[in-house]
Symmetry: C2
Subunit: 388 residues, 2 copies
């Protein structure tokens, strides 16, 4: 778009607010492009948790019918909330906000329905990331890019995953196969064959990430998650539960595939637990769920990837040391590590992805990978708000 | 934004879908900029009425609580609907859509609340024009600009009116005062003092436009509006009703001021009618309402504008010949005419305005007029979706 965009390094912030409604995560990095090769440096991260009241408000917005005035208010409020967090992040690192060349803002996903359905006779496929980046742009005086998923969905894609472009550009290796694995609520991976271009990556969900482990930690231990995997490490394997979990068909299905809390639901877990004979020690439940999660990821890698590869893990699951150990146990030939060892702080990877996507958008580059989203072609992602 | 944007003429479509939920109105024109002076030529217009089912769906969206999935679907659906109308408009005039340099899309206003209120402790002011211009851009392969009002609202403005910039640039006259008057549901005018710059225009609502006339035509004559003003012409003045109407305080209030269907409501009209003695002949009601509308516009011009001016009328009211005659009768020194005589087809003026605003946005120009919106400063309006 801007003819001179790539002529000098650009300082870009990326903002992610995930479906877990934990926090506003901001990453700031400097990007440059030399002969088509992107570089990223000076990565910084900052996080601002949502208050319980804010989290409840956002949760309600998704589940319960609301008048359009409430949607309208949250759209603008998210823009204000993110502006204040970006300001705080800049303060933390002594960056003058006017020095930011752009902000990439994912927005809050409040609905994602990329399967074709009909409205007034028109076949549509729809996704909605709430958050006014026009508001963000004028509040901070910075170019803001948002609404990254709509264009891919309009082209027949799933609008997700968008991270493979980032993975291909910053984690691939000319001499070695790399698997970028993100363990959030669900687990998803990007297969980066040695020396492959972004157009030929594959990416898919493998099954649950932290979703069931978090649920069990909350229900039986009143903890939001199993810190370091300590609970899991204190339990032992429950063979009957483990065998029921391993019968779940999603794990074996060939890619492309994606999943969510509809399939790996609390209800399904409780049904599996109820079908086991007798009561199970809660620590054994967490232990068994964690081993199942590691197995389901490894099984997908054995079937559809390469056992001899660097497995670069990010997301909350990369802090679960028992899970990381279990992954290494499942895949003895792999080098299981976090993305940090490859220069990408695992906590900020998703935010960095949207900083990078904004950087590409402003340089007029396409960013969706049709081989993973299913779109009919690649395209520029996002809409651009200029600060004026 | 694009450094070379103003170096050649640009073919831009503008799309308006008003709160009356009548139709999708598209105007296409060629814009050029020479030494800061904009020119507009080759204006074409096309309209596609909403079906009753579509209109009901949009009406419901505003009034009744809906799940976020419905908001999401309409957001995308509007993008599809507008894409098909722009395609039809291009077909009608033998224009290859790929020749369009850009589209300015107002979107469907579903909520507008620019007064300050609070959410989670943050003071916000909000407006929402639904319609995914990211979808429009990829469907047509054209740059699409949308969400024109958010930036002004974020800067403390009302986000409206935005038409004064267009009026100043295309209707002002170095040697004569011009008043641009749009008679839609409400009536609003822009005062263009001879030779004034856009930064010094004034603009405000004068009171009702067609809102009460349309209601009476529908209720007593089963017509959507009083075609040519024929019903009004067949009636006579009802002095008691007329005097009650002239007592409405909004008409006299000093600008800036804006109004809507909350003040000039059906309920208020029915109360005024009920307060009159005896039954009133329906044609006399339409006659009296039309004369009141003309008087309220003229009274504002006498108080806050100039009686000796060109009154350039646009909007549906410009087709009501009885109303136009009444305006001329009220303002004998004015030259009452339609914008058509000044080169702006009155039916397409609003759509042309958003084509022009998109044209300015892509050239990096500010478009809100703080003296009329109340914003703390001017800014670039809209967010830009690139087709990729």
């Amino acid at each position: 778009m801007q003819q001179d965009w790539f002529t000098r390094p650009r300082l870009v912030a990326g903002v992610m607010t995930g479906t877990s409604l934990d926090a506003v995560d901001v990453a700031i990095a400097e990007f440059s492009m030399t002969e088509g090769q992107p570089k990223m440096s000076s990565v910084k991260g900052y996080s601002s948790p949502f208050s319980p009241e804010e989290r409840r408000g956002l949760q309600d917005l998704i589940g319960v019918p609301h008048s359009i005035s409430v949607v309208n208010d949250y759209n603008v409020w998210i823009g204000h909330r993110i502006a204040s967090v970006v300001r705080a992040a800049c303060d933390e690192y002594g960056i003058v906000t006017a020095k930011l060349d752009a902000i990439g803002m994912h927005g809050q996903t409040v609905w994602h329905d990329p399967s074709e359905h009909s409205l007034h006779g028109t076949p549509i496929r729809a996704t909605l990331q709430l958050g006014s980046h026009a508001t963000l742009a004028v509040l901070l005086g910075t170019i803001a890019v948002g609404d990254f998923r709509s264009a891919d969905v309009a082209l027949g894609g799933q609008g997700a995953p968008l991270v493979p472009r980032f993975d291909a550009d910053f984690l691939s290796d000319p001499y070695r196969n790399v698997i970028a694995l993100n363990i959030g609520g669900m687990a998803n991976l990007t297969l980066l064959q040695q020396g492959c271009s972004a157009d030929h990556v594959r990416a898919f969900d493998t099954g649950p990430g932290n979703v069931w482990i978090d649920y069990a930690a909350e229900r039986w231990f009143s903890m939001r998650y199993d810190r370091n995997g300590d609970i899991a490490r204190s339990g032992t394997l429950h063979a009957e539960l483990y065998s029921k979990l391993r019968a779940l068909e999603f794990v074996y299905a060939p890619p492309p595939k994606s999943t969510g809390r509809e399939y790996f639901s609390v209800q399904r877990l409780n049904e599996l637990l109820a079908a086991c004979s007798g009561n199970i020690n809660p620590a054994d439940i967490v232990h068994t769920l964690t081993l199942f999660t590691a197995w389901s990821i490894a099984e997908n890698i054995r079937r559809y990837g390469w056992e001899h590869a660097t497995l670069a893990v990010s997301g909350g699951g990369s802090n679960n040391l028992f899970l990381m150990d279990a992954l290494q146990g499942e895949l003895p030939q792999a080098n299981v590590t976090t993305t940090d060892s490859l220069g990408i702080p695992s906590a900020w990877k998703e935010s960095l992805c949207f900083a990078y996507l904004a950087y590409r958008t402003l340089g007029g580059l396409h960013s969706n990978v049709p081989s993973v989203t299913g779109a009919v072609r690649s395209t520029i992602l996002g809409t651009i708000a200029l600060p004026g």
